[in-house]
């Protein structure tokens, strides 16, 4: 095994991530305003901004879905039980002792098992919940009649709950960037696209031959 600087996040994935950051932040701030948590943005403009950001995020997700499936990246998001306990043990105990993170980022597997589980849960339950309820909320007048008060109340509350879960995720997500190699080290790959990865000789040889652009030359 050799440590090499490998491009793990291609340009689209980085764009996807940061656009998502921008749009989700916009949705969070405007959404909290609409819910009455704060009154920093006037209600009317907040509605419009929320709607535009939501539509943009949906468009982004449609592109991302294509990308995930056509590139095979979707496999990254399937959770595995294996190794999950040791990661959980690390965050609950080992991290306080200054231990090394038990998960070694692999070329074909950039998420640790706990991460993968979290993303799986987000992508299969929370995100669909927020956009299904969001679309129903937005299109209320296309399907409602004069007896739809209960329906829209439930939809709006599910939407709100999903939003709070995402809010909690963001807090943990940002916090965990400070664990281990430190915040800067963790954010850097999502900016430059490159991260240090253990490669087997076969993988290294494959990349050298077929995708040399993804490998940074070894500094001598």
């Amino acid at each position: 095994m050799t440590k090499r600087i490998v491009k793990v996040y291609p340009r689209f994935e980085r764009f996807w991530h940061w656009m998502q950051v921008l749009l989700i932040m916009t949705l969070m701030v405007t959404g909290m305003g609409l819910n009455g948590v704060h009154s920093m943005i006037p209600f009317g403009p907040a509605v419009m901004l929320h709607t535009i950001a939501a539509l943009a995020l949906l468009a982004l997700w449609i592109f991302a879905t294509f990308w995930l499936f056509t590139t095979g990246t979707w496999k990254q998001f399937i959770p595995k039980i294996e190794g999950m306990l040791s990661v959980a043990r690390f965050y609950a105990y080992g991290v306080f002792k200054g231990e090394e993170h038990p998960y070694e980022k692999l070329f074909w597997r950039k998420h640790n098992p706990l991460q993968a589980l979290t993303y799986f849960f987000l992508k299969w339950f929370i995100f669909p919940a927020i956009w299904v309820t969001g679309i129903l909320y937005l299109t209320y007048n296309f399907w409602s009649d004069s007896n739809s008060v209960l329906a829209i109340t439930i939809i709006a509350n599910l939407h709100l709950f999903a939003a709070y879960v995402i809010g909690a995720f963001i807090i943990v997500h940002i916090y965990l960037l400070t664990v281990g190699h430190g915040f800067r080290q963790h954010v850097k790959p999502m900016v430059t696209g490159y991260d240090e990865i253990d490669l087997t000789p076969e993988q290294e040889a494959y990349l050298e031959t077929n995708e040399p652009g993804r490998l940074k030359p070894v500094e001598s």
Partner: protein, 540 residues
């Protein structure tokens, strides 16, 4: 080439201007009433003028006879209630019955002085001039059962000192009604400027643009419209009723060129009035629950004329040490006018200007607590009940002026009473004798209704739909006025509105989740920092 175009353009402009000028010279009407010999007479009374009108307009009196302006009688098609001024009791001067020549001063006819009778049947008892006079000097005497003042004595229906009207001049001027024809009665309902409606006042004779976008002049930026532009008429019957309101109008503008007998906003503006953009679409989405008026008339009693908001009859009758009636004038309007806050004749008043409406679901049906309805005097009694709810599909949330009253009722039979307040020559009228027992007894006799002889006073609410004084779009009610905790619609049932309940069960659960997460993360970080220090080692 350019020169050619310029000359051509100039020619077109001049041509258009010539055409417009020529149009101006041609009379809009096919008849100039000042040229009719039959109108060039020194009329001595209103009915004489009506006779002259009817020589050409042979069916006009029959049309008028069936209009609510003349009958003051209305059988509600949904509730079957007998309404109209002839029958109802309100929270203002009470009832017409017992006070005829004063109240019938605004009757669109001449000489109706007994409510227990039908209005006068004679063809010439219709008052054509009150609606069609364009000389602006025709008026009615405040106490003349509809007749105009023929000498400078007494007061007019708008409270001015009376003058001798020139009936010849009025007859020769006739045309279609404009604002003062309607306003001289309707702006002064309840006995004074804007007393009753709240959205109909003398401010509408010549309103500024911010008071009324439709009725302000074109120079002012408005449309220069008159009442009859919306309240279209057919056979002397007008669109727009306060008893049976078109609360929602899904028909909209109808087919191109279709004439509609409707005084609704939608009949001109359509059912999707906002522009098709991301904002307009959302605003159009609101039309399934809100009447246009709820957003576009942010306040009523605008333009400097306050409306009466409270009338307590129970305190009326206090006299000074000499036995003379007293008055207090403690309300000062935005224009500096002092208004009565107490009168021995009428009791205590309060007023509001630029008032925020009361909102309620409204399907257009108004049910009155007429004489024959039992009331519960331990509660505030609704003089008129506003019907409607979310589920019926035709109700919308409407703005109302909610008038607070305290008025007389029969405390043994628990029903409202008719009161005889006006009558300078009687020994029973309240305004001259200050004796409720006599005034109620006389009122009930005038209305020919049984009365126990016992009376009390009960708190009342009366609801007046707000539909006039449409403000410019930029002054419409802002989203947040309703989309906040305890917003304008806080008391309206059957509404889900984002932004009104941030601390509901799910909101609190979500906030708790985020808070716990934050606390967990902070605790984790603290333990990390602490344990690392004690270990002395550093991971990086």
């Amino acid at each position: 080439m350019y020169l050619k175009r310029a000359v051509f353009g100039l020619a077109i402009t001049l041509g258009a201007a010539n055409f417009a000028a020529a149009q101006e010279e041609v009379s809009k009407s096919t008849a100039d009433h000042s040229k009719f010999e039959i109108l060039q007479k020194d009329f001595q009374s209103g009915p004489e003028v009506t006779e002259a009108c009817l020589t050409c307009h042979t069916e006009a009196d029959d049309q008028m006879m069936h209009s609510i302006h003349f009958t003051w009688d209305y059988e509600h098609p949904e509730t079957g209630q007998r309404l109209g001024k002839k029958n109802v009791i309100n929270a203002f001067c009470g009832s017409v019955a017992g006070n005829e020549p004063r109240c019938t001063s605004c009757h669109a006819g001449y000489g109706w002085d007994d409510m227990s009778q039908e209005p006068p049947k004679e063809a010439n008892a219709k008052d054509c001039l009150v609606c069609h006079d364009k000389s602006d000097q025709y008026t009615k005497l405040a106490t003349g059962a509809g007749h105009p003042p023929m000498e400078a004595k007494g007061k007019t229906i708008t409270g001015q000192k009376a003058w001798a009207v020139d009936l010849k001049k009025a007859a020769m001027s006739v045309g279609m009604p404009d604002r003062d024809n309607c306003g001289n009665c309707h702006f002064y309902g309840g006995g004074g400027d804007n007393v009753k409606h709240g959205d109909l006042s003398s401010a509408l004779y010549n309103p500024t643009h911010d008071v009324d976008v439709h009725m302000s002049s074109v120079e002012e930026g408005g449309e220069g419209m008159v009442c009859a532009d919306c309240h279209v008429s057919d056979r002397h019957q007008w669109a727009g009723s306060r008893y049976n309101v078109l609360a929602s109008d899904p028909h909209g503008t109808g087919k191109p060129g279709e004439a509609r007998h409707a005084a609704s906003c939608q009949s001109c503006h359509g059912t999707e009035p906002h522009p098709t953009n991301i904002k307009g679409l959302k605003l159009n989405d609101h039309t399934d629950t809100l009447a246009c008026q709820s957003c576009h008339i942010p306040e009523y009693a605008r333009g400097g004329v306050p409306t009466k908001s409270m009338w307590d009859w129970s305190t009326a009758g206090k006299l000074d040490e000499n036995g003379k009636p007293i008055h207090e004038d403690d309300y000062v309007s935005s224009t500096g006018k002092h208004l009565h806050t107490y009168l021995s004749t009428k009791g205590n008043f309060d007023y509001q200007e630029d008032a925020t409406p009361y909102y309620a679901w409204f399907d257009g049906q108004v049910e009155y607590t007429t004489y024959d309805r039992k009331i519960d005097p331990t509660q505030t009694v609704d003089v008129n009940v506003i019907h409607g709810n979310r589920e019926d599909g035709k109700s919308r949330i409407w703005p109302f002026k909610r008038m607070e009253g305290r008025q007389a009722y029969d405390s043994a039979n628990n029903n409202f009473v008719y009161t005889h307040v006006w009558g300078p020559t009687t020994d029973t009228a309240f305004w001259t004798n200050f004796d409720w027992a006599k005034a109620i007894d006389a009122g009930m006799k005038a209305a020919d209704k049984p009365y126990s002889g016992e009376f009390g006073f009960v708190d009342t609410y009366m609801y007046w739909p707000i539909t006039h004084m449409v403000a410019p779009a930029e002054d419409a009610v802002d989203c947040v006025e309703c989309h906040q905790e305890d917003g304008r619609l806080a008391n309206v049932a059957g509404v889900f509105m984002p932004g009104t309940n941030t601390n509901g069960p799910v909101g609190l659960l979500g906030k708790a989740l985020v808070l716990l997460t934050l606390m967990g993360v902070i605790a984790h970080a603290l333990i990390r920092t602490f344990s690392r220090k004690s270990n002395g080692g550093h991971h990086d």
